[in-house]
């Protein structure tokens, strides 16, 4: 049973250490906390979910989080396309290699440091306002716009790389054929490039969307507004309401699992 020997350690780890605890987390979302003693009450109740749906503040926070995650994904897709296209179809071989390294180096690295750098740049007497002041303008300050900007910055490389890899597989001859047949730039883009690049965009959006949904560090550092992650974090720590934290945490999980299932169907996993 060689297969069993190969599979048992990784599957055991993921199923027990990870999926098991996810299941416990999900179940605890149906528990509650006794308001007098602060003890966990393990009787199943929909109370937490009812609070989430019925309280305007939580509806607003969910809307803000999902809205900003969507806006970040859109901005990243728009920003990533030109550079990915340049890398795949215009740059020389040598240049392409350099650009791939230049995009990949900051991708997995120094997340916290980058948010901190933006905090310095966006603050009252920081670089951003200094650049804008000659024009009589001032930056967005700390808030939702700053959060959107920093998220867009942070996850941009996650979008560039899959789109680049997708476009690289697009044969030049297809572009030539389209132009020979009279397809202008926009038509070629819509009918030839987009259908091939679409799974890659979806692959990139898994990261841009998911990473934005659960982050609480960035809003803490560059905003004063609340995101799902902040509420979850506060309920684990200060408020000590673990069941409510778990209930709110299931919102991004449900959104992401649905998203992943659709993404897999669209062939996005092969583009990762």
């Amino acid at each position: 049973m060689q297969l069993g020997l190969l599979l048992a350690p990784p599957l055991g780890w993921l199923l027990i250490a990870y999926l098991g605890s996810l299941a416990v987390l999900f179940i605890s979302a149906f528990w509650s906390v006794d308001s007098f003693s602060g003890d966990l009450v393990r009787d199943p109740t929909l109370h937490n979910f009812r609070t989430l749906v019925e309280t305007p503040v939580y509806r607003q926070i969910t809307g803000r989080t999902v809205g900003i995650a969507a806006a970040v994904t859109l901005a990243d897709a728009l920003l990533a396309f030109p550079i990915a296209f340049y890398m795949a179809k215009v740059a020389s071989r040598r240049m392409r290699g350099l650009l791939v390294i230049a995009i990949l180096m900051p991708l997995w690295s120094s997340y916290l440091v980058k948010v901190y750098a933006w905090r310095i740049i966006l603050q009252e007497d920081g670089l951003f306002n200094w650049l804008l002041s000659p024009f009589g303008l001032s930056g967005p300050g700390f808030g939702d716009v700053a959060t959107w900007l920093v998220f867009t910055y942070l996850w941009l490389p996650y979008m560039i790389i899959p789109i680049y890899a997708g476009l690289e597989r697009l044969p030049d001859s297809l572009l030539e054929a389209s132009s020979d047949l009279g397809g202008r730039g926009w038509l070629t883009f819509r009918r030839v490039i987009m259908p091939i690049a679409f799974p890659a965009v979806v692959a990139g959006s898994i990261f841009t969307f998911s990473l934005s949904l659960g982050d609480y560090i960035t809003p803490t550092l560059v905003s004063n507004t609340q995101f799902i992650g902040n509420v979850v974090y506060d309920n684990i720590g200060v408020a000590g309401n673990l069941p409510f934290a778990a209930a709110f945490a299931t919102v991004p999980v449900v959104v992401m699992v649905a998203y992943l299932l659709v993404a897999r169907r669209l062939g996005a996993f092969r583009a990762l």
């Binding site: 215009v90 991708l107 120094s110 916290l112 659960g214 996993f269």
Partner: protein, 270 residues
Amino acid sequence: MVQSRAAKLLLRAATSLTLVFIYLPLGVITLYSFNDSRSLTWPIPGFTLHWWGKALDNPGARDALLTSVKAGLGATGIALVLGTLAALAVHRYQFFGRETISFLVILPIALPGIVTGMALNATISTVFEPIGISFGLLTVVVGHATFCIVVMYNNVLARMRRSSRSIEEASMDLGADPWQTFRHITFPQLRTALLAGGLLAFALSFDEIIVTTFTAGPVKTLPIWIFQNFARPNQIPIINVVAVIVILLSMIPVYIAQRLTQESGILRRR
């Protein structure tokens, strides 16, 4: 090629601007690490190496750096074994649920960090603590390994899909036992994929903060140390230096991994 000269110019300009956007904050923080003044006002009044000396002598930062390196090495080691085993199984065998493996390994990194963190936190306090393993370096390693598996898995699987099975079969036909075949044929084929995946996993672990927050207990990794010191204004100049050190230490492994291999995806270097 289809593009006109104007289109090429536009694309080149867009590419340059995007690169400036990506590297600007890293450059800014590097300049601030040489900042003469304690305040963070721009423009920077003057430059000094004073804070670099202070930061390198700071015991808190040094302990945190050591912890981060240990956590990174531990997590990379576990992820290397588990990810490689899963990739071997998926590549070599047909079995029920094979397609879901790739879904399962990607889950810890695709789900928001706070969810992975909470889930692991619950497991540690309900399963690990009763058997005497409390929150600390070991639990950080467990947490980091969980989301690093996918990097090893993807790298190794991509490499195996490209290398040919017939060399292994030839080795077996010539009388090598499975272990000899693995040592002389399979492993050399996978070596750079393992190294590249390992470097990526290390970089991933090195600057993770959210899962770490939920699994570390009293232990401080470098990102946790930085985050906690944000609240202390007199530490700011030292944080700026430590930030630059983190940038260097998390980028260099990625650079080497990229040079080792060539083409790439987010989660793999082929």
